[in-house]
C-alpha cells in the first residue's frame, strides 16, 4: 500500500428524487509515471491508481481507466442521478493491488 493515500469525496447530504447531483472526488496519490529517474539514473517504477469507479446502490455511475498521464492526486468531477435515498461507493484501484474505498450516504430532501 502506497503511503499517504487519503480519498476525499464531496457529495451533497440531501437531494430531491431524480435530481442530478455533482460529485467531486480527490485522492492523494503520487502517481509515479515510471518514466522518471532518481539521482543515480535508475528508473523509478510506475505506481499509479489505474482505475476509479463510482456506484450508487450497486448501479454504476462512472468507471474510469487511468493512464500515467493523470496528474498527481487524481481529481474527478462528474454528475449522478439520485432516484432514491442510498449510498455512493467510490473505489480506487492501485497498481500494487491495494483498493481504497469510500462510502457516502445521501438522503432524499
Amino acid at each position: 500500500m502506497a503511503k499517504g493515500v487519503k480519498p476525499r469525496v464531496k457529495v451533497p447530504k440531501t437531494a430531491a428524487a431524480g435530481e442530478t447531483v455533482t460529485i467531486k472526488t480527490l485522492i492523494s496519490h503520487k502517481m509515479e509515471t515510471g518514466r522518471r529517474k532518481d539521482g543515480d539514473g535508475n528508473v523509478i517504477p510506475r505506481s499509479i491508481i489505474n482505475r476509479f469507479t463510482c456506484a450508487f446502490n450497486g448501479k454504476n455511475v462512472v468507471d474510469v481507466n487511468m493512464e500515467p498521464a493523470i496528474s498527481v492526486n487524481p481529481y474527478f468531477q462528474f454528475d449522478a442521478t439520485v432516484p432514491e435515498a442510498g449510498e455512493f461507493v467510490f473505489t480506487w484501484y492501485d497498481d500494487d493491488g491495494s483498493v481504497y474505498e469510500k462510502k457516502k450516504p445521501i438522503k432524499l430532501a
Binding site: K59, V62, S71, A80
Partner: protein
Amino acid sequence: MNFTRRETMAVSGAALVATVMPLKLMASTTDLISGVTGGIDASGDGISLTAPEIAENGNTVPISIDAPGAVAITVLAAGNPTPGVAKFNFGAGSGSQSCTTRIRLAGTQDVIAVAEMADGSFSAAYQTVKVTIGGCGG
C-alpha cells in the same frame, strides 16, 4: 535584392519546418482518433472539450469533457510519450456524460477526446494546449 546562399538556405529551411510541423501534428491526431474508433469516421458534433489555451504547468492541466448521449469517452494526448490519458465509461446512474479531471502534458500538443455514442457512432474533438513549463511565458 541579392540573397547569399546561406540566407536562402535559412529562409527555405524555416519555411519547410513551418509547413511540415503542423501537418505532422495533424496526422498523428487523426491517426489517434481513428485508432480509437477502429477506422470509423468521427463527427465533430455532440462533444465539447474544454482545456486551457495556455497551461503554465504541464503537470496539472485541468480539462473537462461533455458529450451528451455518450457511453464512453477516451482522452488522448498526442504529444505525450504514451498518448493514452483516460477512458471514462458511463453507467446507468450517471446524471450527465461529462467529467472534469487534471492531466499531465509533456509539452505543447493536441488534447483529444473521442466519445463513443450509444448507437455505435463516434464524435471527436481536439484542442491545442500550449505548455510553458518553467513559467517563463515562452
